[in-house]
Symmetry: C2
Subunit: 181 residues, 2 copies
DNA sequence: CTGGAATTTCAGAAAGTCTTGAAATCCGGC
DNA sequence: GCCGGATTTCAAGACTTTCTGAAATTCCAG
C-alpha cells in the first residue's frame, strides 16, 4: 500500500467509526474503492493486516450495504471484490440504504405515534413536534427521489457547471422537457 | 413519561446508537425535543432513569452539537434545557455540525492527497477516484449552502406544496427575484 | 465570606463491540 | 463421491465505550 492509499484508508477508518460502520469495514471499503482492480479477501487481509475472518465479516457487511460487488475472475476460484467508482452512484447507494435502515423505521414510528389520540396536553404538544419532523422527513424524501433520478452523466455535467441550486434545477428542468406539471 | 413520549424516546435511543451519537444522548435529546417546557438535569435523570452525571455528560454533548439551548428560569438556580422545535432548523444545525466534523476533514485529506504527484499507475488511479469523490462532495456542499439559506417560513410553504424538486426550485427562484445570475 | 445547592469531573465497574484462530462448511475439479 | 482450497461461523479474549457514585468544583444567596 502506497502512502497515498494508506492515508486515504486511514481516514476512512476514522470516519467509519464516527459513523455507525466500524473502523475495519471503513478501511476495507476505502482500499477496494481506490484499487485499480478487484481484490480478494487474502489480498485485503494482507494489505491491512487484519485476520482473514475479520475481512470476511467486513466484506459481508459491505455487501449488505451494496457498496462492493462480488466478481469471479476466470481460472481463479477465489472471490474478488470491487466497488463502483462513480461517486454519485456510491452516494445514491448510501442514501438508499440509510433511508431503508433509518428513515423508514423512523417514519413508521412517527406515523403510528401520530395516529394516537393525545390523552393530555403534553402528548398533544409532543405530537405537534413529531408532525413537524415527519413533514420535513417526507419532504426531504420527495426531494431525494427527484435528485436520485438523475443519472451519473447528467450529474457530471452539473458538476462541471459548478452549479448553484437554481442553475442546477433549471438545467434538470430543461432536460426533462421544460414545462412544470 | 407517557407511552407516546416513551416510544419516541426509545426510538431515538436506537437511532442514536446506529449513528455516531450514543443511546443515552439520543434519548435525552428526544425527551427535550417533545417536552412542552424546558427541563432541568434532575428531571431528565428521573424520567429516563439515568444517573445525574450521565445526564450532565449527555447535555454537554448536545450543547456541543448545538441541539439544545441552556436557559435560566427566574427564581430557580438550576439550568434548564430546551431544543428548537422547528424541524428545519434542527436539520440545518445537524447538517452544519456534520459538515464541520466529517465533511471538512475529509475534504482536507482529499485535497492534500490530490496535490501529491502520483509516483505510479496505482496512485494515479487512486487519485482519479478521490477526485471524483471530492468533486461530488464539493458540489453537494454548494447545493447545501443554497438550501440552507431558506428560512423556516419559506420551507413551511414549500412543505405545504408537497413539492417535487422542480416546483420547489421554481418557487425559490421566484422568491429570490427570478433571473438566475 | 460562608453554606449549600447545582454541576462537573473522574476513576473504576459494567456493558458492548471488535478481532481472532480454530473448527465447520462450502464447493469446484478430478 | 472425495480432496483440498476458499469461505464462514463461532466462542473467547482484547479492546472500547458507556455509566455510575463519590469527590471536587462552581457559584449564588444571605
Amino acid at each position: 500500500m502506497t502512502p497515498l492509499v494508506s492515508s486515504f484508508v486511514a481516514h476512512f477508518g476514522e470516519m467509519g467509526s464516527r459513523w455507525g460502520i466500524n473502523r475495519t469495514v471503513g478501511q476495507i471499503y476505502a482500499l477496494i474503492f481506490v484499487s485499480p482492480r478487484a481484490l480478494n479477501a487474502d489480498e485485503i487481509a494482507e494489505s491491512l493486516s487484519f485476520s482473514r475472518s475479520n475481512v470476511s465479516m467486513g466484506l459481508k457487511e459491505l455487501q449488505a450495504w451494496r457498496l462492493v460487488r462480488l466478481r469471479h475472475l476466470p481460472g481463479d476460484r477465489r472471490e474478488y471484490f470491487e466497488a463502483p467508482t462513480d461517486a454519485w452512484e456510491v452516494f445514491r447507494t448510501l442514501a438508499e440504504e440509510r433511508r431503508r435502515r433509518e428513515v423508514e423505521p423512523t417514519l413508521t414510528m412517527l406515523r403510528s405515534a401520530l395516529l394516537e389520540t393525545p390523552s393530555n396536553e403534553e402528548d398533544r404538544i409532543a405530537q405537534e413536534r413529531m408532525r413537524g419532523m415527519q413533514e420535513l422527513i417526507e419532504m426531504l424524501m420527495l426531494w431525494f427521489d427527484e435528485v436520485q433520478a438523475l443519472d451519473p452523466a447528467t450529474l457530471e455535467k452539473l458538476l462541471r457547471m459548478g452549479a448553484r441550486v437554481q442553475k442546477v434545477l433549471e438545467f434538470t428542468d430543461r432536460l426533462r422537457g421544460g414545462a412544470s406539471h
